[in-house]
């Protein structure tokens, strides 16, 4: 596949030049380690924020560096540094070996089964290069969005932003893999806050958590209609100030796609990370209520619930050609008709547990070790429109857009709040309600799912996420259509 212009930037667009730098690291470690890999990453990120009554703030952040991971005498070592000159790859490789040697003898030898090399090139397909969009066009879009959101009397604060990131990610391993990935992602979003003396209410679009970002070009931002939706969320933020309080009790819910995507992230994605299941993350991120031995037997959800990991789906923040230890992207059913089938795994955790590798080793740039993160993990759609789902609900509540989220360290006991809720009577949306919250236990919740709306209601949301020590960021995506869940505890906060 020939590179498009959007990928012709920076110092590492040239795969052969990058391969030479990786070769320097590989030749340093080749005969001295049981296994080793190197990731050479050049990334540039643009962020522009407009705020009500403030000057725009724009920044362009570039980073280039290399991370080398080695296995020496059964012990792992990792080192990383910026690529300040051509001598860095070899020096970092030496450092990684030294780090590994310090841990030799601390416990049982790490066993890392070998596998055949996999090489090639992958790139994001881009319509319009977001870095080629003029400042004037970006400014005009956000200024209009701010104006639209602030038009409602009572809106006290509005922030609107667009972001774009481009990356050259090159990987080599001592098994002979040589992979070149050229990625682009683009996103945007806005938040309006309305405040009174006794109340502060926030409305966001398209996602309350860092907007929405896709593996795509500027066309992704244009498709968001930030201006039209800015006006809507501004009005809703003000309306929430005087809306009735959402009720406490046990209720039937239709949960909108954005909130379902966060439910997937917290109670499915994290719960299915195999390193977490095996205890590697227990000191910080926690463990999981799921055990490796539950594969094939645990009824995680109702038959309406199927959750899939598929980074081969183009255009998402979780799309890639290979994960960050070189495993080819693949589709993997994690939950199939409610039954737990697979985990989000990497090579090391799969080797220790005897489970299959699903290609979920993800690392933030060059500076951090790959750990198990979600890829593009989504709830398979069912059938029918949102209107049909509300009709099936009958009496209950339609809720959307996350306001707060919390879940325990086993990913079992959760509590979420949403920005908006609507009373639903006989299948029709009625009053707007404020401060809706619901809580429950993960498998009980997913087993209460009666139906999922169809592909026409399916949406994908890109997320940042944190994990590991030192904490690193993961970038991933979740897709969902609205779902209908029965007998959910509400009004818990």
């Amino acid at each position: 596949m020939a590179p498009t212009n959007a990928h012709l930037w920076g110092d590492l667009a040239d795969d052969e030049a990058a391969a030479a730098l990786l070769g320097s690291a590989m030749s340093t470690i080749d005969s001295r380690v049981e296994y080793g890999d190197a990731r050479l990453v050049e990334a540039e990120e643009l962020r522009l924020y407009h705020q009500l009554d403030r000057d725009p703030d724009e920044r362009l952040e570039k980073s280039v560096g290399i991370g080398v991971r080695v296995l020496v005498d059964g012990s792992w070592g990792f080192a990383a540094a910026p690529l300040s000159d051509a001598a860095v790859p070899a020096a970092i490789a030496e450092r990684a070996i030294a780090v590994a040697r310090a841990g030799v003898g601390a416990g049982p030898r790490v066993v890392f089964p070998p596998r055949p090399a996999a090489s090639g090139r992958y790139q994001t397909e881009v319509g319009q290069d977001p870095f080629a969009v003029t400042t004037a066009e970006r400014d005009a879009l956000l200024a209009q969005a701010i104006e639209a959101a602030a038009a409602s009397r009572g809106v006290s604060s509005v922030t609107a932003g667009v972001n774009a990131k481009r990356q050259h990610r090159h990987f080599a391993s001592t098994e002979g893999s040589l992979q070149h990935q050229h990625l682009i992602e683009t996103g945007g979003g806005l938040t309006a806050i309305a405040a009174s003396e006794r109340e502060v209410q926030r409305r966001s679009y398209p996602n309350s958590f860092h907007g929405n970002t896709g593996g795509s070009g500027w066309e992704f931002v244009l498709g968001l209609d930030l201006v039209g939706n800015g006006a809507r969320v501004g009005e809703e933020a003000v309306a929430l100030l005087s809306a009735p309080m959402a009720p406490a009790g046990v209720n039937d819910l239709v949960i909108g796609a954005q909130q379902v995507s966060l439910q997937i992230h917290e109670s499915s994605g994290h719960a299915l990370e195999l390193d977490r299941i095996l205890g590697d993350e227990r000191n910080f991120a926690g463990t999981s209520f799921i055990q490796a031995s539950d594969v094939g037997t645990l009824r995680y959800g109702s038959p309406a619930v199927s959750i899939t990991s598929d980074p081969t789906v183009a255009g998402t923040r979780g799309s890639f050609g290979w994960d960050d230890e070189g495993t080819p992207a693949r589709r993997a059913g994690l939950i199939e008709e409610g039954i737990f089938r697979r985990t989000l795994s990497n090579r090391d955790s799969a080797a220790r547990s005897g489970l299959e590798i699903t290609g979920a080793a993800r690392a933030d740039g060059w500076a951090y070790l790959p750990v198990c993160f979600s890829t593009h993990v989504f709830l398979e759609p069912g059938a029918g429109s949102l209107a049909e789902l509300l009709d099936r609900l009958g009496d209950g509540y339609y809720i959307e857009d996350n306001r707060s989220w919390s879940i325990d360290n086993r990913r079992l006991n959760f509590q979420f709040g949403t920005e908006v809720a609507y009373e639903v009577r006989r299948g029709r949306k009625g009053r707007l309600l404020r401060n809706f919250s619901y809580g429950g236990i993960t498998p009980q919740f997913w087993n209460s799912v009666e139906a999922v709306a169809g592909p026409e209601e399916f949406q994908t949301f890109g997320y940042p996420c944190g994990k590991g020590e030192p904490k690193q960021w993961g970038f991933l995506s979740h897709g969902a259509a609205p779902l209908l869940a029965r007998a959910i505890r509400t009004g818990v906060a």
């Binding site: 080192a79 690529l83 604060s157 009720p247 360290n409 809580g439 505890r489």
Partner: protein, 485 residues
């Protein structure tokens, strides 16, 4: 153990870059960190890491319009300066009016008093000494530089990790955690003549011990490794986890509690969110509208304090402004917000020196070294003061629910116990809670002496330091709230 950058040479590079005339003004902040981490779980050091990260953050200003460009290598600095100038010039040309942004100016009087923006006078402060100068490794050889942290090397940390795993195994359980050290470097140079730089050591430890269903946690960090007491903390965590076996459910309700230092720190981390930032104060949102009112118990003092000898203090921010101590609560009275240059200007005040840019977020002032001073009693003494109550070691996944009331939700985690007749007795399962941070601070009845520090996620050199406290009442359990009338 060396800083990732040569401070003198880097400052020379900044000087050279600042000779550019492509923009009206320039500010360059350099944030560099060389970290070493020994991460372990079960019986294996599974993720030993050695990471160097560097960011040169250039801000150019043309007619009051800013543009920032960052890069990770000195070789790319000139390009970054030129790109920032181009960006600022485009912004100025697009605007019909002068922009509002101003960079820091040198305030000699304030600098002398230790409260203002610095000049070249403090160049070199905090750099590691070129030769051994002090016999006591627990005392700083320069501001923020501790030789005992130099000794907390990979061999020492690996030995401690092995000992922790072996101790937990001998008790029938497992240990997981991370011991680390780092050198943080921060430099700021501006075309107005500000020159600041610091190099600081950092040591950290965190550990979870699991024995059957009993777990216990410890975390601490400091500029000085000698203050961590890793070995003692491992032993305490093993004992707590052993005592924590056989957990039971606690009925939902309101209980008198002793909150461990880590739980208190987690709560204090929400103070910026309830209004102690210039962003919220300038928008008229949050608690600082009630400045001077008694909203916490009179014995509660909380501040962001770069002068404190705990946490991860750094004396100036990325705009080159000296950090002032900002009281959030002083004897229970509501204080003020931390500001950067932009929000300070909006509020008509001088900046408190708390400029910050978090990844993926709008630049806004942040409180990076929140400190609640120690009280007179030990944690055991606080527990002994309760006839009946609950001890909560740690909270987890806490999130803001209501900014006005300071209500958060989260779950309790690790070593939590019933308190009966002044002693820890029955271990408790983790429990969801929804409670007001402000309500908790209003109910503080006693403060412990055991200050510990924990990191603030996504905040450069961010730490919260707090002691344990005894609180009159804390609501535990997901009891439904009453709908509004």
């Amino acid at each position: 153990m060396q800083p990732p950058l040569d401070g003198a040479r880097t400052m020379e590079a900044l000087d050279a870059a600042l000779r550019s005339t492509a923009a009206d003004e320039f500010e360059i902040a350099v944030l560099a960190r060389s970290g070493e981490y020994t991460r372990f779980a079960g019986q294996v050091i599974h993720q030993p890491q050695d990471i160097v990260e560097v960011q040169y953050l250039v801000r150019a200003l043309v007619n009051g319009h800013p543009y920032r460009v960052a890069t990770s290598t000195a070789a790319d600095l000139d390009r970054a300066v030129a790109a920032a100038a181009t960006g600022a010039r485009i912004r100025a040309e697009l605007s019909k009016e002068a922009g509002q942004v101003r960079l820091a100016v040198i305030d000699a009087a304030a600098t002398a008093a230790g409260t203002g923006t610095g000049t070249g006078a403090d160049v070199g402060a905090g750099s590691p000494p070129s030769r051994p100068v002090a016999a006591d490794p627990a005392k700083p050889q320069a501001p923020y530089w501790y030789r005992d942290t130099e000794a907390y090397d990979v061999a020492a940390r690996s030995a401690l990790a092995k000992e922790a795993m072996a101790t937990a195994l001998a008790a029938g359980g497992e240990a997981a955690g991370m011991f680390g050290r780092a050198v943080t470097q921060q430099l700021v140079a501006t075309s107005a003549g500000i020159r600041r730089q610091i190099a600081a050591t950092e040591a950290s430890g965190a550990l979870t011990v699991t024995i059957d269903d009993g777990t216990a946690h410890w975390v601490d960090l400091s500029r000085s490794a000698g203050r961590l007491d890793v070995a003692g903390s491992v032993a305490r965590a093993v004992n707590q986890a052993r005592a924590g076996r056989g957990r039971v459910e606690l009925p939902a309700g309101r209980y008198p509690v002793v909150l461990g230092a880590e739980a208190v720190g987690e709560l204090l981390g929400f103070l910026p969110d309830v209004g102690f930032t210039g962003t919220l104060a300038a928008a008229g949102i949050g608690i600082t509208a009630q400045a001077g009112q008694l909203l916490a118990a009179p014995l509660v003092n909380v501040a962001d304090d770069a002068g404190a000898d705990v946490g991860l203090p750094i004396g100036f921010d990325i705009e080159g402004v000296t950090k002032r101590r900002v009281d959030f609560f002083r004897h229970g009275l509501v204080g003020a917000a931390v500001t950067d240059l932009a929000t300070a200007a909006a509020l008509g005040r001088p900046s408190t020196g708390h400029a910050h840019i978090a990844r993926e977020q709008v630049p806004e002032p942040t409180a990076p070294n929140i400190v609640m001073p120690a009280g007179p009693g030990t944690e055991d003494e606080l527990i002994a003061q309760l006839e009946h109550g609950v001890y909560l070691q740690r909270f987890w996944y806490t999130r803001l629910v209501d900014r006005i009331t300071g209500t958060i939700t989260g779950v309790t985690r690790d070593a939590c116990f019933l308190i009966e007749s002044g002693r820890l007795t029955t271990p408790l399962n983790g429990l969801r809670f929804t409670e007001s941070v402000l309500g908790v601070l209003a109910g503080v009845e006693a403060i412990g002496a055991d200050v510990r520090s924990q990191p603030i996620p996504n905040v450069w050199n961010g730490a919260i330091s707090a002691p344990s406290v005894r609180v009159a009442a804390f609501r535990l359990g997901a009891a439904p709230i009453e709908p509004a009338a």
